[in-house]
């Protein structure tokens, strides 16, 4: 019974981290540490972006969990699981409480969508300035970036294929920026688009892919790198569609 519970807690912790966009080496490390703290010395774990394998000892049977839907990034959940794992290793949490706390973390949400859209708009405006734009580019980049991000979030609810949502986000950015520029709102179309596209850029995937590759997790690194490449291509194609009509 005890063993089943340890497995449950480890799997849940691993699942939350993986779904929230953690590096796979961190997922495996956390699961092993939790298991060791509860007395399972020889726990084996293997995580890829799409599945987790975990067995509590070599002769015991393996638990397998498939991960179908990955969110882009929920760094606060990774931090929360991390601090729970620290408490477990320090001996401050027993199995039952650890399971309950992890269940709470799974439901948690850090920021509402409207705040994220505002943040995306501010990010877009700032990047237009940082990449060498003038202040006239700030407002149009802000609006285009906010609309594009909102479009992507909206499409994500209807579509199961994330790349199509990202394509749509890029498409909205292309249309709105060329619309603004045709009225003389904004100084340079390139700067407005570059700024507006930045919130969609798969920055987390790129850094994670690199870190996983360096940590020797070749499968995870390559699959995340491919996902990043596909995302970048989807956004680029979305924006580029508008140049086809000009």
């Amino acid at each position: 019974m005890e063993k089943v519970m340890i497995e449950k807690v480890c799997m849940l912790a691993g699942k939350i981290m993986l779904v929230s966009g953690a590096e796979t080496y961190r997922v495996e490390d956390t699961m092993n540490r939790i298991a060791a703290a509860f007395g399972a010395v020889n726990a084996q774990s293997y995580a890829t972006p799409t599945a987790i394998n975990f067995s509590i000892d070599l002769p015991s049977e393996t638990k397998f969990l498939r991960i179908t839907k990955r969110s882009t990034a929920d760094l606060h959940k990774i931090a929360a699981v991390n601090s729970i794992s620290r408490k477990i290793t320090a001996g401050e949490l027993d199995l039952q409480n650890a399971f309950l706390q992890l269940k709470n973390v799974e439901k948690d949400k850090a920021y509402p969508p409207w705040l994220q859209i505002i943040a995306a708009a501010l990010v877009s405006g700032s990047f237009a300035i940082m990449f060498g734009g003038v202040w006239e580019d700030f407002l149009p980049a802000m609006l285009a970036g906010g609309l594009g991000f909102a479009g992507m979030l909206g499409m994500e609810r209807f579509l199961d294929i994330r790349f199509l949502a990202e394509f749509f986000g890029g498409f909205v950015i292309g249309i709105t920026s060329s619309f603004f520029l045709s009225f003389g709102f904004g100084a340079s179309m390139d700067m407005v688009i570059i700024g507006a596209v930045m919130p969609l850029v798969p920055g987390l995937l790129i850094t994670n892919a690199v870190r996983d590759l360096m940590a020797g997790h070749l499968v995870a690194g390559i699959s995340k790198g491919t996902e990043a490449l596909l995302t970048a291509f989807a956004i680029g194609a979305g924006v580029a569609t508008i140049f086809g009509f000009m």
Binding site: A110, L115, M198, I206, T207, G236
Partner: protein, 145 residues
């Protein structure tokens, strides 16, 4: 004056990205500052005439060192700080330009720009590994004694 504008915008950009990536509220300001310092180092170096690739490596190194120290101080996983901190250095502008040239059939320019994007991504990777490598070397040296 330009530097102040760059400082403010890079802080807003990094902290805003923190919100997009659901960074814990208590870490938002730090991740914004990490991104700001990394970008300013890059900006100053490029302004002084350095090539963009080494400048990106140095910027990423600063980001990784700052992230590592904040991760140690605030006891949070390092990924919370690096992800939004590294964002300003990601070559989004050049990648976009490369895409634009591809669409307009200027393949020679497009391939040149894509190669530069690959180099910059590699530079970011090297810079990000920096603090980890230094940390491992220090730890091994202490272990031996």
């Amino acid at each position: 004056m330009i530097i102040i504008a760059q400082l403010v915008t890079s802080f807003v950009a990094s902290a805003g990205f923190g919100i997009l990536f659901n960074v814990p509220r208590s870490a938002l300001v730090q991740s914004g500052l990490v991104g700001m310092f990394g970008w300013i180092l890059y900006y100053v170096l490029v302004d002084a005439g350095m090539d963009v690739v080494p400048a990106t490596v140095f910027g990423a190194m600063l980001v990784s060192v700052l992230s590592y120290t904040s991760a140690k101080i605030y006891k949070k996983p390092i990924i919370v700080y690096t992800v939004s901190g590294i964002i300003p250095l990601v070559p989004g502008g050049i990648a976009y330009n490369a895409m634009h040239q591809f669409v307009e059939n200027n393949y020679d320019v497009a391939v040149q720009l894509s190669a530069q994007v690959m180099l910059l991504a590699g530079g970011i990777a090297i810079g990000l590994m920096f603090s980890e490598v230094v940390n491992q070397i220090i730890r091994r040296m202490f272990m031996r004694r």
